[in-house]
């Protein structure tokens, strides 16, 4: 008999034993759903059909079923596997025995409850939501109408106008930067844009950048940058080297 070809007909699986093993190893079948006892019974049935005891098959089956049971046990106590593995064998045995005893008691208790439920079968009583408890009556203290009028007067007063002063943005005109950059380019043919921004506020930096774009639009300057976020170099038209010119054009085309 070939154990691997043992036909199984379980609740959660139907097919040959080796397919079940493959599916379990691939975690496509949850071992917790597999009735291992059912597999054993099926094997015994097949074994009984034969006259001679197939020791090889028995040995192979024992190994496979033991592995399956170990996997199933580990699956059931996943979080505790590490905890248990740190124990000495005697301690682990004692811990397991303690847990088994605990479970057995609970099983007995469940049996007692089942009997009790059966003996109390003819117990009928009213089931329903409890009627509402009465709401405590809230009594108001003696009120003075004048104090109510005072409060209403406070509410009726015109609130002070909200100041919007903090929302006004003050920044220099673009022309100021245009002049500044033109003057700079009068003195130097190339300058570093970033170093010109030092000490300026964010709004001023933005205006300066607009001025820069304005100069580029009127074709007064060339702008180059070695890499994104690298310093921006500004050069007067006609002053830049041919190579820089080419690279700048390429950059402009790409960014356009």
């Amino acid at each position: 008999m070939i154990v691997r070809e043992l036909d199984l007909d379980l609740d959660a699986f139907e097919g040959p034993f080796d397919l079940l093993l493959t599916l379990v190893l691939k975690e496509e079948v949850d071992l917790a759903d597999i009735d291992v006892a059912g597999i054993v019974v099926r094997f015994l049935e097949r074994l009984a059909e034969r006259d001679a005891l197939d020791l090889d098959a028995c040995g192979e089956f024992l190994v496979l079923v033991a592995a399956l049971l170990e996997l199933k046990a580990r699956g059931l106590f996943e979080d505790e596997a590490a905890e248990l593995s740190e124990l000495e064998p005697e301690e682990a045995a004692e811990e397991l025995a303690r847990r088994l005893a605990e479970y057995r008691r609970m099983k007995e208790a469940a049996g007692w409850l089942a009997e009790r439920l059966s003996s109390e079968r003819d117990r009928f009583f009213r089931v329903g939501p409890a009627p509402f408890a009465p709401q405590p009556e809230r009594r108001l203290a003696q009120q003075d109408p004048e104090s109510l009028a005072n409060v209403v007067r406070l509410l009726a007063a015109e609130p002070p106008a909200v100041s919007l002063a903090h929302m006004e943005l003050r920044f220099p005109p673009v022309a100021q930067f245009l002049e500044r950059f033109r003057a700079l380019l009068g003195r130097r043919s190339v300058f570093d844009f970033d170093s010109e921004l030092e000490g300026l506020s964010r709004a001023e930096q933005a205006i300066a950048f607009l001025a820069l774009l304005d100069l580029r639009r009127s074709d007064e300057i060339r702008i180059s940058q070695a890499a994104p976020f690298a310093p921006i170099r500004v050069s007067k038209v006609g002053q830049e080297s041919a190579a820089v010119n080419e690279r700048t054009n390429a950059w402009n085309v790409r960014s356009a």
Binding site: E88, M106, L113
Partner: protein
């Protein structure tokens, strides 16, 4: 025709007993003595005595309504003689039995509660989620706070008054003591230790 005069000596507790009777009819859950005392604004001892009077009147075999001490309070239920007729009209709260998993789970909650789903799973060796959900739905267990934890620990569960009523328990102390339940695993323990000795050898 003139009726003969009869001297009726009213029991001084009669009025109180009638009030208690009314309270118990209105209530849908067992009423503890303290609540009956608060509602009647009477003396606890007198309330107990009046409950005794009612108990004699509403007794199995004597009345269709039976007064019983259940789930930590006093409540009316149908007499057992009327159970069959009641069953034709009404379903019992746990008519369709409980599965083995549910019984084991409710036993764990009754004995060890308030306890969490992971604790139940640890004892039973399988996830307790569906059994717990079913028991909550049937009203046999209910949430009882959370475990301590930085982000709110697991929900804890305890049995309800409905559980005690369905199982006819005055309180959880009526459950058999856990130590009295057979939990002997001596044979298994011996076998486990034998294996342990072999492994450490």
């Amino acid at each position: 025709m003139e009726r003969p005069l009869r001297l009726v000596t009213a029991n001084p507790l009669d009025q109180l007993a009638r009030t208690l009777e009314a309270l118990l009819v209105v209530a849908s859950a067992p009423l503890p003595v303290e609540e009956l005392v608060a509602a009647t604004e009477d003396d606890p001892e007198r309330v107990e005595l009046a409950l005794g009077l009612l108990g004699e009147r509403y007794h199995e075999g004597r009345s269709g309504i039976v007064l019983e001490s259940v789930a930590g309070g006093w409540a009316f239920r149908a007499s057992r003689d009327a159970a069959e007729a009641c069953g034709r009209l009404f379903e019992r709260p746990v008519q369709r039995g409980l599965s083995q998993a549910s019984l084991e789970t409710v036993a764990i909650v009754a004995y060890l509660g308030p306890c969490t789903r992971p604790e139940i799973a640890r004892i039973r060796g399988v996830a307790a989620d569906s059994a717990v959900a079913g028991l909550v739905e049937r009203g046999l267990i209910t949430e009882a706070g959370r475990e301590d934890g930085a982000h709110g620990g697991a929900v804890k569960y305890k049995t309800t008054a409905m559980f005690e009523r369905v199982f006819g328990l005055e309180s959880l102390s009526q459950l058999p003591r856990l130590d009295d339940l057979p939990g002997d695993v001596d044979d298994l323990r011996e076998r486990l230790h034998a294996v342990a000795e072999q492994r450490s050898a």
